[in-house]
């Protein structure tokens, strides 16, 4: 589905006309291509005094070979030196025409309201120095793990990153990463994802990172090498993109879909060298069958993506019970039942990853979608309910919540609603299936051991439910 309006405003004529008419100008988002660097421009790092993450940030930037700059705050230079980095120095009044691809602030040192001024001190001078499709990343400490003034101040960070996401245009995204104490060395996969064009359509989000003992050796260009990934609803749309992306990252993908879509499924799995299972996830024995097949064919499974989903929109007064039941069965009962069956059977390997697909409708609610929104909010509940249990087995469970994604499904939405879905977001456009897939690939990475219990929206910071 092409976004003709976005194409128009990015054409030679459109670039002239749109600003004169005060029309929105959604940019063409930069997306990852195989072989691209994590970040293709200068990254400016700052730190509020007393922070604890600058070293981990510097190590990640050194590992990805980013052109790094720092402010001269505190012992940031020494920290960078310890990480083997020789960054350039940003100073107000000396930076000339310098622009940055990303602005990263270690805000963990912010322990009270006054220290929130560090946000202004770091970002204000460089707010106009971000390149198109740039990144704002603030790293703080998980407020729920703090007390008193520090908790208040850390909670406050969210208002800042959500606002910068809305304020700075041109494809810039803004995120907040809450890092638990002792989880400093678990931030690499998240920082890489948020810095890179892989997170093109993710903005205004909050990610929580927990400590983990699991620290696997990783080939970052093929992080899922040797892993087996089950993707339900893999024959088309977002599911197809997920299957392709996980395969790109080295996984053997087991695609699953219902019998009527067997041919399309086989085409997808054939293209990526995966295998196909034809199955209805709502079958009572679906979990047991899957556990057996995965154990027998692959010795287990490492990544489970519950992507299969349906919509049957009706206003509540017009909605028949079976329509309600269909949606709940596919979207929520199946993921819960299959997850429990695979866990009980021990089919999900150590360092396993379970990923649910929720929706912004599950967060914000939506007209005509009482059934769908209930099921998708339930997926968030599934993450909440299982996160602690699976963590004890070195497994994580997270969900993505897509917003308006350009698929065959959304192509059928009436024009007015479709345009509203696209434009009423910070990035002013719909996302692509690959944007959801990249987010899932980040969850799936063995390096994301500390990323558990998260629900990250892939919605271009849609105004709905924000």
């Amino acid at each position: 589905m092409t976004d003709r309006y976005r194409s128009f405003v990015n054409s030679a004529i459109g670039r002239q006309i749109a600003p004169r008419l005060g029309l929105p100008q959604p940019p063409v988002l930069q997306r990852h291509r195989v072989g691209d660097p994590v970040v293709d421009g200068p990254v400016l790092v700052g730190a509020a005094p007393g922070g604890r993450l600058a070293g981990a940030i510097a190590r990640t930037l050194a590992a990805v070979g980013a052109e790094t700059w720092t402010t001269e705050a505190g012992d940031l230079r020494q920290t960078a030196a310890d990480a083997g980095l020789a960054p350039k120095i940003y100073a107000d009044g000396a930076a000339g025409d310098q622009r940055f691809k990303a602005l990263v602030l270690d805000a963990t040192g912010i322990a009270d309201v006054d220290a929130l001024g560090e946000l202004h001190a770091f970002f204000h001078p460089v707010a106009r120095r971000l390149q198109g499709c740039g990144r704002i990343i603030v790293l703080g400490t998980t407020p729920e793990l703090l007390d008193g003034s520090a908790r208040i101040a850390q909670r406050a960070l969210e208002g800042f990153t959500r606002s910068t996401g809305k304020e700075i245009k041109r494809g810039v995204t803004s995120q907040l990463v809450y890092v638990a104490p002792d989880a400093e060395d678990r931030i690499a996969s998240t920082l890489r994802f948020l810095l890179s064009p892989r997170s093109a359509f993710v903005s205004g989000q909050v990610v929580r990172i927990m400590p983990s003992d699991r620290d696997p050796e990783l080939n970052w260009s093929e992080p899922l090498k040797g892993k087996v990934a089950l993707v339900t609803g893999a024959s088309r749309g977002i599911g197809e993109a997920i299957a392709q992306t996980l395969a790109r990252d080295g996984a053997h993908v087991v695609g699953l879909d219902i019998a009527p879509l067997a041919d399309e499924l086989a085409a997808v799995t054939g293209r990526i060298g995966g295998s196909a299972i034809t199955l209805d996830v709502t079958d009572d024995d679906a979990g047991a069958v899957l556990a057996e097949r995965l154990k027998a064919d692959h010795g287990g499974v490492d990544v489970v993506v519950h992507n299969a989903g349906i919509t049957r929109d009706k206003t509540l007064g017009n909605m028949k019970r079976e329509v309600w039941d269909q949606v709940l069965a596919v979207n929520l009962r199946a993921p819960e039942a299959i997850t429990r069956a695979l866990l009980d059977a021990g089919t999900i390997n150590r360092d396993g990853r379970i990923v649910g697909v929720a929706s912004i409708a599950g967060i914000a609610g939506n007209f005509g979608q009482t059934n769908y929104a209930t099921s998708k909010a339930g997926v968030i509940g599934l993450v909440d309910a299982l996160a602690a249990d699976v963590a004890a087995r070195d497994i994580t469970i997270n969900a993505v919540a897509p917003g308006f994604i350009e698929t065959q499904m959304t192509a059928k939405v009436p024009l007015g609603i479709r345009e509203a879905g696209r434009r009423l977001s910070s990035l002013g456009q719909g996302g692509l299936p690959v944007d959801v897939a990249e987010t899932i690939a980040w969850y799936a990475s063995p390096a994301s051991a500390g990323v558990n219990g998260n629900v990250v929206r892939v919605c271009g910071q849609s105004l709905l439910g924000a």
Binding site: W69, E72, R77, Q78, A80, A81, D82, G84, L85, A86, P87, K88, I89, Y90, A91, D92, G93, A94, A95, G96, D97, Q98
Partner: protein, 425 residues
């Protein structure tokens, strides 16, 4: 041949005042200016009719006919004709490198006395004809008969007739030295204010040094100029702040004030073994202890064009078991105020010292009161090859006045090079 290297004495120096481009020396050639500087040195130290072991000098901008410039100047001087001479060239490092060349020969016992220095003119610049025209004229010259010469001449088209003007530009990047330094200044966070302060101090210090007669036995007036033409004794930070940026775009920090101007001038330094100085009843101001040259890659932005001295100095320090703080004077050539400040900041910076220099701790800060105490290139100006001689003579005299001590010299050069030295008394 001596069993060990000999100490190299700095007997003294001489230069002509430096003039701004197309100013007082607009019609003076490199040879004229070098001859004037040498003539003053001969007078000062009674060298008339004496044989000097070797005279080494060079110019950065040089006419092709001046291939043997220094020897020609010696032949035209009052030195004995048996004084050998050599032309050297290492961009802005030329002067100090020529001094190093002479010093090494003295240290090894190959010669007992020598003169090192340099000269440059940006006024009497070596304009060349465009390459198309030059090649066609070469072809004309190769013809034997008049008829063939005329035929070859007829091939010249109006479009071929162009001038090739020497430019202060790095061939591999197409950027001028100022453009390069503007990048480095930005990447080290060097502010306009800091650059202007350094510039004002340079003018203030040079003016004060003139006023107390410091340069009386270091300078010979030339063509009506008695002091450096670029010196602005009344320069202040406030006045400098009014200048528009010339490098680094409209938001840049580098101006015509805190960058050195194009200029003309010459300088020479007399070096000798201690025995030769004593035998000729000449003073010893100080000793040239050691010289270190370094180079960096800069073409792909891997390092700043003018940052090589930051690499050379730590090697010097290590070789002599010294720290950066073990000096009484620091003579850091002010190609641009930002070059000096970037270098000092690099030595203070843990990331540069660890990652680029491989040291556990930064070299640290210097006492700014010991930096360029009698002014430097921002005030005196910078006729490229003449700067090394100006600095060595100034520093040697400073150490002599002080009655002892140690000085550090740092000169950056085009092509990502730098020449540094230790001078002691």
């Amino acid at each position: 041949m001596p069993a060990t290297v000999r100490r190299v004495a700095i007997v003294g120096g001489n230069r002509i005042p430096f003039a701004r481009s197309n100013g007082a020396y607009a019609t003076a050639s490199n040879s004229d200016m070098l001859a004037a500087a040498l003539d003053g040195l001969i007078d000062r130290f009674g060298l008339e009719g004496k044989v000097i072991g070797e005279v080494a000098a060079g110019a950065v901008l040089k006419h092709s006919r001046d291939f043997n410039m220094t020897r020609e100047v010696v032949l035209g001087s009052r030195l004995d004709n048996a004084s050998a001479a050599v032309d050297l060239q290492q961009a802005c490092g030329t002067g100090l490198q020529a001094i190093n060349y002479v010093a090494n020969k003295i240290a090894l016992g190959q010669i007992d006395s020598g003169i090192g220095g340099g000269v440059d003119t940006t006024s009497d610049a070596p304009l060349a004809i465009g390459d198309k025209l030059r090649k066609k004229l070469v072809a004309v010259n190769a013809q034997r008969t008049t008829a063939d010469k005329v035929k070859a001449l007829a091939k010249i088209r109006p479009g071929d007739i162009r001038l090739d003007i020497p430019a202060n530009r790095e061939p591999r990047t197409g950027l001028s030295m100022g453009d390069h330094q503007a990048i480095t200044a930005k990447e080290w966070g060097i502010t306009r204010e800091a650059q202007d302060e350094l510039t004002a101090a340079s003018h203030r210090n040079l003016a004060a040094a003139y006023d107390r007669g410091f340069f009386d036995d270091l300078i010979t007036p030339f063509r009506g100029l008695e002091r450096d033409g670029n010196l602005r004794p009344d320069s202040t930070v406030e006045k400098l702040a009014k200048l528009k940026p010339v490098f680094g775009g409209p938001d840049g920090t580098m101006t015509a004030g805190n960058s050195t101007p194009l200029s003309d001038g010459a300088s020479v330094v007399l070096l000798a073994s201690e025995e030769w100085a004593e035998a000729n009843d000449l003073p010893v101001l100080a000793y040239l202890t050691d010289v270190q040259t370094a180079a960096v890659g800069y073409v792909d932005g891997e390092e700043g064009l003018l940052m090589a001295p930051a690499y050379a100095v730590p090697r010097l320090l290590d070789r002599h078991g010294l720290t950066l703080q073990d000096f009484d004077y620091y003579e850091i050539h002010e190609a641009f105020a930002a070059q000096v400040l970037s270098t000092l900041k690099a030595w203070e910076d843990p990331t540069f010292c660890k990652v680029k220099l491989g040291r556990d701790a930064p070299l640290g800060s210097i006492d700014r009161d010991k930096l360029n105490v009698n002014g430097s290139s921002l005030a005196a100006a910078h006729p490229f090859a003449a700067t090394g001689g100006r600095i060595i003579a100034t520093l040697a005299k400073l150490l002599d006045e002080r009655g002892g001590g140690r000085g550090l010299v740092s000169i950056c050069a085009a092509g990502g090079q730098g020449v540094t030295a230790i001078v002691e008394r």
